[in-house]
């Protein structure tokens, strides 16, 4: 105890510690103030909690410690405690005459560094400086080790949870009596369970990164700037009760990881974009497509952006593409001035849809053969047009068609719900999108897709994954990936899983979109899209795979496995599965309407052109050829496509018109395509595109490699418009 006679006792504790004292009782306030000054601290007193909070907000740097009463008239001391903990991250010591154990416990669990029972004695105050030191020490330790969990953070209310299941986590998260995390209320759909891959994290705290939460995270990161986005500051900006720095740190890690993989994917897609562009140019040169130039150009951007720019947030890429053509993802096409547009737009949508539905992706990728077959069968449907769009990857188209039927039933719900959220990924925030999509997809996909043809999904995803993985930008690979998808569910599943979120997103969009379009009549389409999109955003793969295959892991682990994927894809039989899909051709037909739309867009292959060739349906053969890694098949496709172009124009218009009717809500990409052009067209187109890719790749030629930044910028633009 300090000598009351004023003898200058050597300070036993840090002199000048800046304390904010909050107590509504004037007597206590005066006494404590005096005591603290006797300890040689700098004291600021406040008799109201709100005033204290304002002071802290204004000058948080001016204080080292907060000493607060529990029972105050204007605000509960615990609430203040939470606020301070989250916003300012200052140590807080609670005081009260109430010494009931449960109240004391509450203080501790709310994150108080200490709980002092009144009346307060000098001795108690002498040691409060230790809390400051301890806290600072813990924080610096945390920064170094973002995954570790320390006691202080625990006090802040880490949501401990054992089970990672979204529903469970959601429940436990919600039950934490802290301030409600916005957006978490009763919206299971939005919640994403983030599995911390970081080994050091030890999964001590499970945070359900809902869409909103992730959005906050992203906003915070953006606000701070990537360079300065340290977990602590992010947490402060997020102002989410119950969130700990570690949670934020883990999340940040995950997001960064995703971003990285996305960038890798982007580079790959860049190549695809280039190829697409070239195809477009080729098409453009043709008279009948002249008119389409505009639309295509417009679409081009969209697709371009979307496909190639698989930004760190793959979904984003997709979103972009989708967005471009359409205001919202859902719109089938931005401005189907010509059918082309429709196609493109559709593809965007389709992509989305594909992704969303999960199933579609697979469908898209199923071997070309399938597509061909289906296309031929489905001729009557409006899918022609779409198929043409999808044509880029014939395999894609077909599988989708068949699958779509299946999905159709399930999708509707899915699509509607999932939609957009996944889809529109803002350009920058990978994690955000990922999370959202993941969440959504997981939720939706898992629930809704029970595709009978798991394969197709897988394949699509598979191929996407491959694409992603193979930054080698092997066009052949690309195609083969697509093709091979269908072959082995397992492999694709595996791959998908491995690819993780990013991969899914990258590859799937293109293909998925397409497939989703075509496959089913409205319902399917919608579903596909939404599911597709969802998948894209989140783990698109997972959703696709869910369709019957194997659930994808939304975790980001897959990122790491890209390499593996690669290997796997190679092994994929390829077209075997395609054949199987043939049966569905009729189904396909219906859906194909959408597909072409999507395909076109997705692969970013001259969609417009393809669209114009609605009558491609007849060409099924070409599709088959595409799939291997070689270029051979692609060549074939190309030819056909060209020939069909004329026909397609007409049909396209029609189909598009029909499509336009699709309900494109904000969130659901629905293309309600009426009968569309023959699917074969799509196949052809797809082949064409693939061919193109192969050519490019094979020759190592062009990859007019656009600097990644460029494409990304496009993406961003779109994204922004989109989002």
């Amino acid at each position: 105890m300090l000598d009351s006679e004023g003898a200058a006792a050597a300070p036993e504790f840090p002199v000048g510690l800046r304390v904010l004292l909050v107590d509504d009782d004037p007597t206590c306030l005066k006494i404590l103030d005096r005591m603290l000054r006797k300890c040689l601290y700098h004291v600021t007193t406040c008799s109201q909690a709100m005033a204290a909070l304002n002071i802290l907000r204004a000058k948080k740097e001016c204080f080292d410690l907060v000493l607060s009463d529990v029972y105050m008239p204007d605000m509960d001391g615990f609430k203040l405690l939470e606020h301070i903990g989250l916003e300012m991250d200052l140590p807080v010591i609670m005081m009260s005459a109430d010494d009931h154990k449960d109240v004391v416990m509450k203080g501790v669990t709310h994150g108080a560094c200490d709980y002092i029972i009144k009346p307060v004695r000098m001795e108690s105050l002498k040691n409060i400086w230790q809390h400051v030191v301890r806290k600072k020490k813990n924080e610096s330790k945390e920064l170094d080790n973002s995954g570790s969990l320390d006691d202080n953070d625990r006090q802040r209310g880490v949501v401990d949870e054992g089970d990672n299941a979204s529903s469970v986590c959601a429940g436990s998260w919600k039950s934490v009596k802290r301030k409600k995390v916005e957006g978490k209320d009763d919206d299971d759909d939005d919640e994403a369970v983030e599995e911390h891959e970081d080994p050091s994290h030890a999964k001590k705290s499970r945070v359900v990164w809902s869409v909103d939460l992730h959005q906050k995270f992203v906003n915070a990161v953006h606000h701070l700037g990537v360079d300065k986005a340290v977990p602590k500051k992010i947490l402060e900006l997020m102002s989410v009760a119950g969130l700990t720095r570690e949670n934020v740190a883990s999340h940040l890690q995950v997001c960064l990881l995703l971003r990285f993989s996305q960038l890798l994917l982007n580079s790959y897609f860049f190549h695809a974009e280039i190829i697409k562009y070239r195809l477009y140019l080729r098409r453009v040169s043709m008279p009948q497509y002249q008119g389409r130039l505009d639309s295509f150009a417009g679409c081009q951007d969209a697709s371009y952006g979307s496909v190639g720019l698989i930004d760190s947030f793959n979904v984003h890429g997709l979103a972009v593409s989708t967005q471009i053509p359409l205001q919202s993802r859902t719109s089938i096409h931005p401005a189907p001035r010509s059918n082309t547009n429709v196609g493109i737009g559709a593809s965007t949508v389709g992509q989305l849809g594909l992704i969303a539905s999960g199933a579609p992706p697979n469908m898209v990728f199923p071997s070309v053969q399938q597509m061909n077959k289906q296309m031929s069968n489905t001729r009557g449907s409006s899918s022609n047009i779409q198929s043409s769009q999808l044509g880029q990857t014939p395999s894609v188209v077909q599988p989708y068609g068949s699958m779509s039927l299946q999905f159709g039933e399930e999708m509707p719900n899915f699509l509607t719900s999932s939609q957009a959220s996944n889809f529109s990924l803002p350009g920058g925030t990978m994690s955000e999108q990922m999370n959202k999509s993941l969440t959504m997809q997981q939720t939706h996909n898992l629930q809704q897709f029970s595709f009978s043809q798991p394969r197709s999904n897988i394949s699509i995803l598979h191929s996407s994954g491959q694409l992603l993985n193979n930054n080698a930008s092997n066009s052949s690979r690309f195609s083969s990936a697509l093709m091979q998808q269908t072959s082995s569910n397992e492999s694709s599943n595996h791959i998908l899983g491995r690819l993780g979120i990013t991969t899914n997103i990258t590859s799937s969009p293109a293909n998925y979109m397409k497939s989703s379009f075509s496959s089913f009549p409205q319902d399917l389409y919608v579903d596909a899209q939404s599911s597709f999109m969802n998948e894209l955003s989140g783990n698109s793969y997972p959703s696709s795979s869910c369709i019957g295959v194997s659930p994808q892991t939304t975790s980001f682990q897959s990122l790491g496995s890209n390499n593996d994927l690669k290997g796997k894809i190679e092994n994929v039989p390829g077209f075997n599965t395609i054949n199987e899909h043939q049966n569905r051709s009729h189904e396909w037909k219906l859906q194909s309407v959408n597909i072409p739309y999507q395909t076109d867009h997705i692969v970013d292959f001259e969609q417009s052109n393809i669209l114009s060739h609605s009558s491609l349906m007849s060409h099924h053969n070409t599709v088959a050829t595409v799939s291997n890694r070689d270029n051979n098949s692609s060549v074939t496709v190309k030819e056909e496509i060209i020939s069909l172009s004329n026909d397609i124009d007409v049909e396209k218009t029609t189909s598009f018109a029909q499509h336009k009717n699709a309900n494109i809500d904000d969130d659901s990409i629905r293309l309600h395509y009426g009968v569309g052009p023959d699917m074969s067209y799509q196949d052809v187109l797809l082949d064409d595109i693939q061919n193109e890719l192969m050519t490019v790749v094979g020759n190592q030629v062009s990859f007019m490699y656009r600097p990644l930044g460029a494409s990304i910028s496009i993406d961003l633009e779109h994204q922004q418009s989109y989002s």
Binding site: S4, M35, Y71, P119, M122
Partner: protein, 151 residues
């Protein structure tokens, strides 16, 4: 001499406060805070206390008069009074407040009313005692500070 008598008086008075349980250890803590920088700290704090506590008691009175009684509010008010009392070391007053709160928790309005009378009585009694005490202190003046050290 007078001073020593005064001092003795003061000392004895204070001792009786403690012996009879009107004051407790916390009062010493308050005294310790008094020094050259705050020569009248104790008196200031006690004065502040009685001013604030009187306000509280008035509020409780009003709350008790309102029907139906809001026991939650009564409890909350009394909690404040209790906290204040404990901060200056007014032990007996604090105990009376605790009893009142017990009645509140049981929603025993009769008990509350009776107890409240005791609270008021104790409050008035303590006030008087401490006023006398400070009066004596003022008589001895600053010199007395030296004698008041230590506990």
């Amino acid at each position: 001499m007078e001073y020593s008598t005064l001092y003795n008086q003061i000392a004895m008075m204070k001792k009786s406060f403690f012996d009879q349980g009107f004051l407790d250890e916390q009062f010493y803590q308050i005294e310790d805070l008094q020094d050259d920088a705050s020569p009248n700290f104790v008196e200031e704090v006690v004065t502040l206390f009685f001013r604030d506590s009187s306000r509280l008691i008035t509020n409780i009175d009003q709350a008790l008069g309102k029907l139906p009684q809001d026991f939650g509010r009564l409890d909350s008010l009394m909690h404040q009074l209790k906290g204040s009392a404990s901060s200056i070391g007014a032990a007996k007053l604090k105990n009376e407040c605790t009893v009142f709160r017990d009645f509140c928790h049981k929603e025993n309005i009769e008990g509350c009313l009776r107890q409240f009378q005791k609270v008021k009585k104790e409050h008035a009694s303590l006030r008087q005692k401490l006023e006398n005490y400070f009066q004596l202190l003022r008589q001895v003046g600053p010199v007395e500070k030296a004698n008041r050290s230590g506990k």
